[in-house]
Symmetry: C2
DNA sequence: ACTAAGAGATATGTAAACAGATCAATTTGA
DNA sequence: TCAAATTGATCTGTTTACATATCTCTTAGT
């Protein structure tokens, strides 16, 4: 299979970014999509779409998924973001996930 | 009007928590609901519902609102959350907002 | 007091997030 | 190799996040 150019995960789309983080966290915990979906109270097809980044979940849904994966959803001032990222990187032991911030992005409408 | 018990903002509901944070950030920037709604690409009635916590926005919508308010949406490991909160508190100069994490919560269905 | 701007609130209509079922494709393990 | 588990993918239907419009009710400003 030839796959030129573009990296496997794009990272200009926040949904893809969120999805790949969720997948990494799930794999890390050795859980199946169905298990996480069940813990989060949503269907597996729905969770799959969220994980692959083909659909935007509601905040409440993302919160529930995050909780199932041992993650927290946080809102911070933009100015603080770099410091938070710095806080996350050094902690490179074994069982943690890279936190990430969603970047400037246009959505649907506009 | 008699209002016994319960504090003005509840903080057991993540939507209320998000809403009051958005409102604080908006007031801090001296913006109207309409201005923020416009910047985020949603209607004012919709933004109002999100701000008062009576409805759950999509993640993409929350990201757009956050951007309009100089905030970032972050997903972090639960274990790191306290450290991040510590990072936010000391920074009590003049123009920053309290970051916050959404807590364990059950949503719709279940 | 009056006025206007901002916020609260509701109604109707549409798009998309959800559920649930059911398929194929892929991965994993015996 | 075969079978089971996991994931990919699509369909039908329901709920709800959205738009737009309109109305009242506060909250300034004069």
């Amino acid at each position: 299979m030839i796959c030129l150019g573009i990296g496997v995960d794009d990272m200009s789309n926040p949904l893809l970014e969120i999805g790949s983080l969720l997948k990494a966290a799930r794999k890390d915990l050795q859980l199946t999509q169905e298990q996480v979906a069940d813990m989060a109270g949503i269907s597996r097809p729905r969770y799959r779409e969220i994980e692959v980044g083909s659909a935007a979940a509601r905040v409440t849904t993302l919160i529930n998924i995050a909780r199932a994966l041992g993650l927290e959803l946080i809102l911070i001032p933009k100015a603080i973001a770099p410091a938070v990222n710095a806080l996350l990187k050094p902690h490179d032991d074994d069982d943690d996930l890279p936190a990430f911030a969603v970047s400037p992005e246009s959505d649907d409408h506009d």
